[in-house]
Symmetry: C2
DNA sequence: GTTTTTGGTGAACGGTGTTTACAAGAGTTC
DNA sequence: GAACTCTTGTAAACACCGTTCACCAAAAAC
């Protein structure tokens, strides 16, 4: 299976070390410390050697973003798998808690991936991470029904496109969704939930609540309760 | 009145130019371009001269943050003053729209002030800007009543503290608030509204919606409708 | 008129991204 | 095995960065 040349193996190993060093620098000392020369020092090589692996400092940072997204995805999937109750609401709650926990433990990574003025194309891994997590959860929530009429007509076009993206994401897992499971009302609530989830987590990580919150977790829980109720999980959200 | 020495006037003028140059660099080329040498070049002086005005590059960036907060505050107050209808809901809507507009026009400033892993003390101008805007608006909303029982008990302590901060902020404008106008339920909704407002704006500025939103403004309006309904402004929120 | 304070300079140190020319080793070809 | 190419590293250099230091001229204070 491993048709890798000796050279290819060495190259892959070096590349792994580069990413690892870059990540360590980001975590320990922030974005500005992720410097080509610092990475090279950690590997015991010189800075220009890194140009054999990445076109520029910027390209290396982009790679770092993707690595972070991938690691975050595995962290969230792990926490989701640990939630063994069959109740969808509990699973959603578990993923949201996992996201908050990850962001608080990895503030530098969170800032880099979720709060940098975006690369023009913005084509990174975040979108697929979101879909892989949210897709199956939405798909398994057969019960809730949302009035499609509440959704403003101007949003229909965008939401229909997102609906199709979600459908494709779920289809890759071999599930086909009926229209009523994925109507526009529900899609809209998913987006609104993301706004609130992201809003709370970012405010907490960046310390931007308008007053000092001594213990933000209950506030997060309370927001989740409201969010799950709005999205149609109230039946099992009380149990936790 | 102007007891300023000739030297003091010159110094103030130079300091003004420094801030102006720093701001221009931030806007034109991002945070990393705000460099002491670049600022000095714009002023036609040398970099070490800037140390006569600021202790370090970091201190200058902090000053920049405060300037940004101040400018944002005047922008928001201006847009609020332009909303002449007496309806509180319309004023809240105007401020929220102003915040979104400001963030979209000033993405670099927004990122610097609202999405940087915080300085330990985080003692900057944002808090007072928030209070000066939100305080009077909340005070003038005498109608809505929120059940205090809905607020989780664990949050009471923090919310009571925020309540006092709000009361003090409004008191500086010569208004004293009755307890029923500023009960914990309303305070809680204010915080939740900030979560949603910030969440949407940050997601839009950073391009972090999980799919491409062709025209985010209607989505923002829709969120505002929901938000104003939740907070108790539904009666006049339909009119806009 | 002398002294002190202020706001500037230029040189220097160690740090950064990036380019270039060059060398040594691995892999390939004859 | 010799010759050749490709890969991966180096060292030197360039221009930029924050910061410190010694110095200096002009303004202010006395």
């Amino acid at each position: 299976m491993t048709e890798a040349t000796r050279r290819e193996r060495l190259r892959a190993e070096t590349e792994r070390e580069i990413r690892q060093a870059a990540r360590a620098l980001l975590v320990e000392s922030g974005r500005d410390a992720v410097t080509l020369r610092a990475i090279a020092r950690k590997l015991g090589i010189t800075a220009p050697a890194l140009y054999r692996y990445y076109d520029s400092h910027d390209a290396l940072l982009r790679q770092l973003c993707d690595d972070i997204c991938a690691d975050m995805a595995t962290a969230l999937h792990t926490d989701l798998a640990a939630e063994t109750s069959g109740q969808v609401g509990c699973k959603v709650r578990a993923v949201c808690h996992a996201f908050r926990r990850w962001a608080l433990v990895h503030p530098q990574e969170f800032a880099l991936v979720f709060a940098s003025p975006r690369d023009p194309l913005g084509a990174d891994q975040f979108g697929s991470v979101f879909l892989q997590l949210a897709g199956p959860l939405i798909a398994s929530n057969q019960t809730a029904d949302h009035a499609e009429e509440e959704v403003p007509a101007v949003l229909h076009e965008d939401l229909v496109r997102f609906q199709q993206v979600l459908r494709d994401a779920v289809a890759e897992h071999g599930v086909t969704l009926a229209d009523e499971v994925l109507n526009l009302g529900k899609i809209y609530h998913v987006v609104q939930s993301w706004v609130r989830l992201y809003g709370h987590v970012a405010l907490e990580v960046f310390g931007r609540f308008p007053f000092a919150v001594s213990n933000p977790e209950p506030m997060f829980d309370s927001m989740l309760d409201q969010m799950l109720t709005d999205i149609g999980f109230e039946e099992d959200s009380a149990v936790r």
